[in-house]
């Protein structure tokens, strides 16, 4: 019951729709530095954890401790957005779902698709349920990633995953004609879903850049919690 309530409150559900998150394709959360890409990715991951699915969170910018803190904060924001929830029930639920998340921290230079493949192979070897969602946070889209992205595409096909990336845009770079930051434009064909976060007065505006039905829809989020803001 609480799980459903929390999913419904999620900013990821509001903007993308929970069903679109794991649709076997690449998704991206874009913004310039410090706006809330990681926080939004965590909310995406939480919707899957709340559906009792496994999530693999790979970070090239945060330590494991930081990743764990981000998930704790994300969950707390979600719970608090409902209003009154029995603290014990919320805690039990967190105990239950948090173990379905595995965080791996790599540095930019040591990250390789083969390492993830090795790891995912071990799931198959041990006959364990595979993660359905992989988050990759901190990949540098200002460099040429075409080789790596095509390997990742293959990986997600082989293991039936969906992958969401963070994509850092830059304030000084003008948007392309379709409203895309250049980082997304470069790999347009590979991405099915994309959400662009932009600070808007004292809120954050989440614009759906790519997603069939919802394209160009805008949602306001609270900058501290990333929860849907009161209109």
């Amino acid at each position: 019951m609480l799980k459903n309530d929390l999913i419904l409150r999620s900013p990821a559900e509001k903007t993308i729709g929970a069903e679109n998150i794991t649709n076997g394709q690449f998704g991206a959360v874009l913004s310039r530095a410090g706006v809330g890409k990681t926080g939004f990715l965590v909310q995406i991951a939480l919707t899957r954890l709340l559906c009792d699915e496994k999530v693999l969170h790979i970070s090239l910018c945060d330590t494991i401790e930081k990743i764990t803190i981000r998930y704790n904060e994300g969950y707390t924001s979600l719970v608090e957005s409902i209003g009154y929830v029995d603290a014990q029930i919320a805690e039990h639920l967190w105990d239950e779902i948090q173990h379905h998340k595995t965080g791996i921290a790599y540095s930019q230079s040591t990250f390789s698709v083969n390492k993830i493949r090795d790891y995912l192979d071990s799931f198959k070897g041990a006959d364990i349920t595979l993660p359905t969602l992989m988050i990759i946070d901190g990949l540098d889209f200002d460099t040429d990633l075409s080789g790596m992205l095509s390997d990742l595409k293959q990986l997600q096909e082989d293991f039936g995953l969906c992958t969401w990336f963070s994509m850092k845009s830059h304030r000084e770079e003008p948007l392309k004609r379709n409203g895309y930051p250049v980082q997304l434009e470069n790999y347009d064909m590979l991405f099915e879903w994309a959400v662009f976060l932009v600070p808007e007065e004292n809120k954050i505006q989440a614009t759906v850049l790519k997603d069939g039905d919802r394209t160009d829809q805008k949602f306001l989020l609270d900058p501290a919690t990333l929860m849907p803001a009161e209109e």
Binding site: A105, T110, D118, Y119, G125
Partner: protein, 695 residues
């Protein structure tokens, strides 16, 4: 003994396994003239280091029991407790920290802050022990003391401040720059015993100036005088800096960082100076006991030699002349010939022989005054006992001791082994509160319990070596527990009339899950069960917790609420209500959906990056949950939670999967409900065992 307590230091040396604790201690003993030859851990000469006094420790190259030793440096008495690094033996670390005033935390300059350092750090926090850090192995390839200093900040939350800079690293490591004195130090002679002071090499002067400025910034927070001098650009004396560092360290608000290479005899003497300069003396530390005559109120112990004596037994060993009890005296003075009281059982003990230890050699002394560590011979007591003068009734605070999670049946091979095994078990259980033993009355087997496979293995080995007790071991068994998952009512009447006085008692209420081990709530009104029978009801329920009705594991997490009942003026008795409670428990228990709980261990693997995937695979195969994995340079650290039952033999599997290059630590985390398939497997095994017994 030095009676000026300002010139006494009681220190521990704590770190991750293989960080070089024993090597460093060996160097300290050499430089303080306690030994005249350096032996390496697992040395080629087959001698082994002096601090590893147990044969087994020498063989395995690990330090199992804390060896206490005394030495003198710069006119100060330094008592050192060498502590074990493996998690299975953390009770030793905890006991040491309980009696120490300060700790030297050793970190490897290549591996940095490792999992065991984190455990030790948590223990230091629990006992509020100030520490200084020594970044060892600066001669190793990949050494990076600056990175380690930052890890102290990031991973352990220490306000770490470098007080030294290296002169060269890896194979070019020559010495250190002291940022307080702004001098360079080199270590010459066969064993680095000659400390040569020199000017800072010109090429490092810029780095040294910048590092000193950074150090002064951090340190000036602890001294107004130093802050003023920095702001006014006045002369900054060594004393000002040292006093500020000492204040910050003792308050546990900063961790000064030193560096060197114990193995290559580099910079051990400056570390010894730092122990004297920055770690607290007994007078700097507040020690508390509880007054058993005064509602267990906390009392502050004073390091006054004339006050009644209070001493804590923190370690027991079998010596040549009977039991050797290591004590730390907190107040007064323990003298030869004194009569003290053991606060636990109020038995009088007469102090016969008092000694000071140097690992496995002893030196007789007449008294051990407050603030010092010594040992008594021939006193029968357990580890953690408090000894006091007859005029006070104090007890030191209880030490945090964890429940064992694994058990093993042992069978002596012959009669002689049987006698020796009993002697050994008697000693071990007194020495180590996490090691327990009992006889299973159904099978007649002797069962030993402990904190991990290695923990029990070591005791089995010690039985063989020290007591010539050859024992055969059974399969390790996990300490499963049972609990209930839902509320269930009971309404049970115990009625018997078989001639003579009858038995009658009725209990009604419900049981439900709780976070506590056991709760009993009495809601009986109107005297339906007379008050004098209520404790018997509780006793009846408690009695059922020892063994679950079907699987016979201990039952925990049950709250029983007694709401109603009935009694008979003649036939009711305590016995009848105990039986009624037992009946009520059995009636409700199966309705309350009992489940099996299994111990889950926190397993941390450190592996070269190339084996990261393989190691994560091993965890996956063991029903483990990987919480995270982080690459740190060439190594990866994988944190996971794995059921203990799947960890047997893991060290062998890990070794073969990683060419012996990975290591792991394991400690108890929590009890979690076992999955249905596992629970069924356990139930099946239990049924087979029962059937075999009944044959």
């Amino acid at each position: 003994m030095i009676r000026d307590l300002k010139r006494v230091r009681n220190i521990g040396i704590s770190a991750h396994i293989d960080s070089g604790k024993t090597t460093l201690t060996e160097r300290i003993l050499f430089y303080t003239n306690r030994i005249h030859k350096i032996n390496e851990v697992r040395g080629k000469d087959g001698t082994g280091a002096v601090m590893d006094s147990m044969e087994l420790e020498k063989e395995r190259g690990i330090t199992i029991a804390s060896a206490a030793t005394h030495c003198e440096w710069d006119n100060h008495a330094v008592n050192i407790i060498d502590t074990p690094g493996h998690v299975d033996f953390t009770v030793e670390v905890e006991r040491s920290l309980r009696v120490l005033d300060g700790v030297v935390l050793i970190l490897c300059s290549v591996s940095g802050v490792q999992s065991q350092s984190i455990t030790v750090d948590q223990q230091m926090k629990r006992y509020e022990v100030p520490c200084i850090a020594f970044v060892n192995k600066c001669d190793r390839s990949g050494a990076n003391p600056l990175k380690v200093c930052n890890q102290l900040k990031e991973k352990l939350g220490h306000n770490s401040v470098m007080l030294q800079l290296p002169i060269g690293l890896e194979d070019k490591h020559e010495g250190i720059i002291d940022l307080v004195k702004m001098k360079a130090y080199y270590f010459e002679g066969d064993n680095g015993e000659e400390m040569v002071e020199a000017q800072i090499p010109a090429e490092l002067q810029g780095d040294a100036d910048a590092a000193r400025e950074e150090m002064l910034d951090a340190v000036s927070l602890f001294s107004e005088e130093l802050t003023d001098a920095v702001l006014e650009e006045a002369e900054i004396t060594e004393e000002m800096i040292m006093s500020a560092v000492r204040t910050g360290t003792i308050a546990r608000e900063m961790t000064p960082v030193f560096l060197g290479s114990a193995y290559k005899n580099k910079a051990v003497q400056p570390l010894l100076n730092a122990v004297i300069d920055y770690l607290p003396c007994p007078l700097d530390i507040k020690n508390e006991a509880i007054d058993l005559d005064n509602d267990e109120e906390a009392v502050i112990l004073e390091s006054d030699f004339d006050k009644p004596a209070v001493a804590l037994a923190f370690k027991l060993e079998d010596g040549q002349y009977g039991q050797l009890t290591y004590i730390r005296v907190y107040q007064g003075c323990v003298k030869k010939g004194d009569t003290l009281i053991n606060a636990r059982d109020h038995k009088k003990v007469k102090i016969g022989r008092l000694i000071r230890m140097h690992s496995n050699q002893t030196e007789d002394v007449d008294a051990v005054p407050a603030g010092h560590i010594g040992a008594m011979f021939g006193i029968d007591c357990a580890s953690g006992d408090t000894f006091v003068s007859p005029d006070v009734n104090y007890s030191m605070m209880a030490m945090h001791v964890m429940d064992p999670v694994i058990s093993l049946s042992i069978t002596p091979k012959d009669n002689k082994a049987q006698i020796n095994m009993s002697k050994a078990l008697n000693r071990f259980t007194k020495e180590d509160p996490t090691f327990k033993t009992y006889v299973d009355h159904e099978t007649g087997d002797t069962i030993i319990q402990g904190m991990g496979e290695l923990h029990l293995e070591v005791y089995v080995e010690r039985m063989k070596r020290e007591y010539s007790a050859e024992v055969a071991t059974g399969q390790p068994r996990v300490a499963y527990r049972e609990t209930i998952t839902r509320k269930a009512p009971f309404n049970y009447t115990h009625k018997k009339q078989t001639g003579g006085a009858g038995q009658f008692g009725r209990v009604a209420g419900f049981m439900e899950p709780t976070e506590e081990e056991f709760e009993f709530v009495n809601k009986i009104t109107g005297g339906r069960i007379p008050t004098q029978y209520i404790p018997a009801c509780e006793k009846g329920f408690v009695g059922c917790l020892v063994k679950g009705p079907s699987l016979e594991f201990p039952v925990t997490g049950i709250k029983v609420t007694l709401e109603d009942g009935a009694y008979h003026a003649v036939d009711s008795s305590e016995m009848a209500f105990q039986s009624a409670a037992r009946g009520g428990f059995l009636e409700a228990y199966n309705k309350a959906k009992p489940v099996i709980m299994e111990p889950i261990m926190k397993v941390v693997i450190e592996t070269p990056n190339e084996f990261q995937g393989a190691c994560m695979g091993l965890i996956n195969q063991r029903r483990g949950i990987i919480q995270g994995s982080q690459e740190e340079g060439v190594m990866s650290v994988i944190e996971s939670q794995v059921p203990l039952s799947d960890m047997f033999g893991f060290s062998t599997v890990l070794r073969s999967a990683t060419q012996g290059k990975a290591q792991f630590t394991m400690e108890f985390s929590s009890y979690k409900q076992a999955p249905l398939s596992v629970a069924e497997e356990i139930a099946k095994k239990k049924a087979e065992e029962k059937a075999a017994k009944n044959k």
